[in-house]
């Protein structure tokens, strides 16, 4: 079962960037190193914190520094968010109230137009504290 375990570990460690869940002013940020389980153009994205959906205008995502942010409102079937293998992607949500030091569940849902069923990932972790302003 060594190879099967290696696959499970590759999936578990290959998507969520360890320790990237952290507080930002008024919200949370995290990064994924790969799209979860499915690649392609996503026509819808949703984030839930502790089961509560973040309103799309309070969610933004981008492929990394230097690339433009897009809000959840701007990701639509007509204007999908392309996400290839190995592409690191940053997420930020605001207007989220999470008590300090608490382990929380952040769920990201992505909807591909090419293959409709929802793809999701959930991260359960205590968010790292907000980085001091530089």
């Amino acid at each position: 079962m060594g190879a099967l375990l290696a696959v499970a570990e590759t999936v578990e460690e290959g998507v969520y960037e360890p320790g990237s869940l952290r507080r930002i002013p008024g919200g949370l940020a995290l990064a994924l190193d790969n799209p979860p389980l499915r690649v392609g153009a996503f026509g819808g994205v949703r984030v839930l914190v502790e089961g509560v959906p973040v309103t799309p205008d309070r969610l933004r995502l981008r492929h990394g520094e230097g690339t433009p942010w897009r809000t959840g409102v701007e990701v639509t079937p007509e204007s999908p968010f392309p996400w290839g293998p190995g592409e690191r992607t940053e997420f930020e949500v605001t207007a989220v109230d999470v008590p300090a030091g608490t382990r929380i569940c952040v769920r990201i849902e992505l909807r591909s137009r090419a293959i409709p069923p929802l793809v999701w990932c959930e991260i359960r972790e205590v968010p790292a504290p907000e980085e001091p302003a530089r």
Binding site: V7, G40, P85, R113, A114, I115, V119, E125
Partner: protein, 730 residues
């Protein structure tokens, strides 16, 4: 080197394969290929070994003094050469001929560069090779690890990601190594790798070409040491790798039937292209696994469902040994206990297998194909005894189905397979993933619960084959025989699925009621023989209506349905396998003109598309979308229909019998076939509307039944066989 390079090609896919290897490229020199996948542009080029994606795009740059260029930018010609791909490059006075080949001896690919100059002065050529390692099995679609362990050895670099690894070797020692954006002195290193590369110094003097060979091979770390000697031999004679692949291909092709349709040359060419495409999918990646990978560029592993579809064609092509070893492989991974984490239930055949072993279950149909494949192997090979383990596997398959069968109707219930896997992952795990796919039929992104029509046809066929093969009755004390269950399923399908408003069949039965939409899957019930005569012909005619059938194939869902989406994989896209279903059902129902025309339609796609008919196309225009460019689903059913339906062949080598009931369209004047394997012999057929000539080379007599009076041919004999009346459409 043979072959004369033509003009540089546009960026179209090239796939080079050995039995455990593949190289994917766009034909311009580098192993890179940007390809639309699931609606986004994705890099699909690189090297695969043992069903593990070893590298991402593997690129080479050329440098002369302070000037530098990418290799593809210098491409002036390209061509397929036996067992490989050649590109010619010109850059100033520099000429480079590159040959790429997938290797048979070790799982990987070798690139050979022969550099020369047409100028009067020597050139100080520097060649830089670089790629990003991937080292993830094909199973984990789209996940590329970032962290690796790197080790420099005297003659190679090794990169490892858990149990997966690769080795990079060169025929010339590198003058410089780099890792990510900096130089690297060698030794051991661990961490993120975005690029690993080396620079080679290649002085080129007039009249004295210089050669550099680069080999990337790997898959499982544990197999790297054993491949050392073979890898050294590949570098010593890289041309031998391509020659070996070519020799194997030629020998295999020569052992398969040749088909000639003088009245439809497109079909003759289509057969040859489909057969060549199927050959590219042959795979023996190690760990005693044998089979055919599902397709390229992103399904390069053994998928049970796809394998089952391909093995039917492999039987017709006469490769009984490969078919048996492939079934043995699937049987070995048939689930023996509840394995919730990989979606397995007792008796279930695997969804996917690759070396490691890495295996996974969770489909509702894969298990149901194998009883028929076992029977076909016996029928074609003429073996009278089941191979070891098959009888038990057959019993387990039937019991797996019984456990899912409705006690009243006998219909097989499906759905929930993928959800069970997600549910098996601990709720409180730090990271969890899932796909909300409630169902896993062949259209596994569509919810077709509870009793999809094609699943019931398959279930009926599985029971039918199991009954003939002597599988035991239910061991649960219910006393239910396989035959009675089979008949109950047939009766229920005939009663519950007819859809008068559409003059078609419901796609599924849910909560006791039939439901649409109109899909091509209903045609499988016609092909299975569950509907015959005028009813079958009406069903075929309905499927041929323009809401389901287009000029480029058959949609997965009627365009008249509210849920139709032309870019949704299983909710409106055109699939080549569905087109083959229409041909199959049309010929089964006696519509020879529609059946042959549909086969010609697939053959035209074979001639047009890069490597074969694409997996799928948009539903609203003939444009590949989210499509593998080479897929077993697209070539194998086409091949099978040519033999089983168009030629009307039924092989029963165990009883030394061959049925021939041709269904060629009116107006055809001739069709020929050579080297059809029947047991230990071969058959040649030559048909005209008034005569069927048969030549038999087997060791004993063969009875040939053309639909009237069977004729017995003795060993080495030829004869004319009387043909029965052709079934006409009413």
């Amino acid at each position: 080197m043979s072959g004369s390079p033509g003009a540089p090609r546009p960026r179209t896919p090239v796939v080079l394969t050995g039995l455990a290897s593949a190289a994917v490229l766009d034909g311009r020199g580098d192993l890179e290929l940007m390809r639309e996948m699931r609606g986004a542009e994705v890099e699909c080029g690189g090297v695969l070994g043992q069903c593990v994606r070893l590298t991402g795009a593997w690129r080479v740059r050329l440098r002369l003094g302070e000037t530098e260029t990418g290799l593809p930018e210098t491409c002036v010609g390209s061509a397929a050469v036996p067992g490989g791909w050649r590109t010619d490059h010109a850059w100033g006075d520099l000429r480079v001929v590159e040959t790429v080949a997938a290797v048979s001896g070790v799982p990987g690919a070798v690139r050979t560069f022969e550099a020369s100059t047409v100028g009067p002065t020597p050139l100080d050529l520097r060649v830089t090779s670089s790629f990003r390692p991937v080292l993830a099995p094909v199973l984990v679609e789209g996940i590329e690890p970032h962290r690796f362990q790197l080790e420099g050895h005297a003659d190679q670099l090794r990169i490892r990601q858990r149990v997966f690894g690769l080795s990079i070797r060169s025929s010339v020692a590198p003058s410089y190594l780099f890792l990510n954006r900096g130089s690297w002195l060698g030794g051991r290193w661990s961490g993120r790798i975005d690029a690993i590369g080396a620079e080679f110094s290649l002085p080129v003097a007039p009249g004295a070409p210089t050669t550099l060979s680069l080999l990337v091979h790997g898959g499982l770390v544990r197999d790297l040491d054993a491949a050392e000697a073979a890898a050294g031999a590949v570098l010593a004679d890289p041309g031998a790798a391509a020659r070996a692949v070519d020799a194997d291909d030629r020998a295999w092709t020569a052992s398969t039937p040749s088909l000639t349709f003088p009245d439809a040359p497109t079909l003759t060419q289509g057969y040859e292209r489909a057969r060549a495409g199927l050959r590219r999918l042959y795979c023996a990646p190690g760990d005693e696994l044998t089979g055919l990978v599902a397709g390229y560029p992103w399904y390069a592993a053994l998928w049970g469902r796809d394998l089952a579809w391909m093995l039917e064609a492999v039987a017709w092509l006469g490769d009984f040994d490969w078919m048996r070893r492939s079934i043995d492989t699937a049987v070995r991974y048939q689930c023996r206990a509840d394995l919730a984490l990989v979606g397995g239930e007792p008796g279930e055949f695997p969804m996917q297998i690759s070396p490691g072993p890495v295996f996974f279950y969770g489909t509702s149909d894969t298990t149901l194909y194998f009883p028929s494949r076992m029977e076909e192997w016996l029928d074609h090979s003429g073996t009278t005894e089941m191979p070891d383990g098959w009888a038990e596997a057959l019993d387990r398959s039937v019991e797996w189905g019984r456990a899912r069968a409705d006690p009243e109707t006998g219909l097989l219930r499906h759905g929930g397979e993928a959800e069970e896997i997600a549910a098996a992952i601990p709720e409180l795990a730090r990271v969890r993933y899932g796909i909300d796919a409630p169902d896993t039929t062949i259209w596994d992104s569509a919810d077709r619960r509870d009793h999809a029509i094609d699943i019931q046809a398959l279930w009926w066929q599985a029971l039918d084959a199991a009954e003939r093969l002597g599988a035991p009755s239910a061991g649960d004390g219910s006393g239910g025989s396989i035959a009675s269950l089979r008949d109950r399923v047939a009766a229920c399908v005939r009663r519950a699925y007819p859809w008068p408003a559409e003059e078609y069949l419901f796609d599924t039965v849910r909560d006791g009621r039939g439901e649409g939409p109109v899909r091509p899957n209903a045609l499988r019930a016609v092909s299975a023989g569950l509907f015959e005569g005028d009813v079958a012909r009406r069903l075929v005619a309905r499927a041929a209506q323009p809401d389901l059938s287009t000029a480029w194939g058959v949609r997965t869902r009627s365009s008249a349905d509210a849920g139709y989406d032309p870019t949704a994989y299983h909710e409106g896209q055109v699939w080549t396998i569905a087109t083959a279903w229409l041909a199959d059902a049309a010929l089964a129902a006696g519509d020879r003109e529609l059946g042959a025309a549909t086969l010609v339609r697939i053959a035209e796609l074979l001639a047009r598309d890069e490597l074969g008919p694409n997996e799928c196309f948009r539903g609203d225009r003939p444009e590949p979308f989210d499509s593998c460019f080479l897929l077993g689903f697209s070539v194998a059913p086409f091949l099978t229909v040519l033999f089983r339906r168009l030629w009307g062949l039924r092989v029963d080598a165990r009883r030394a019998r061959l049925e021939v009931r041709p269904a060629f369209p009116s107006g055809w004047t001739n069709a020929r076939m050579e080297r059809l394997r029947v047991g230990n012999g071969t058959v040649d057929l030559n048909w005209t509307p008034t005569r069927l000539e048969v030549r038999w080379t087997g060791p004993g007599p063969l009875t040939v039944d053309g639909g009237t009076a069977p004729v017995v041919l003795t060993a080495g004999a030829a004869g004319a066989i009387p043909l029965g009346p052709v079934r006409e459409l009413s």
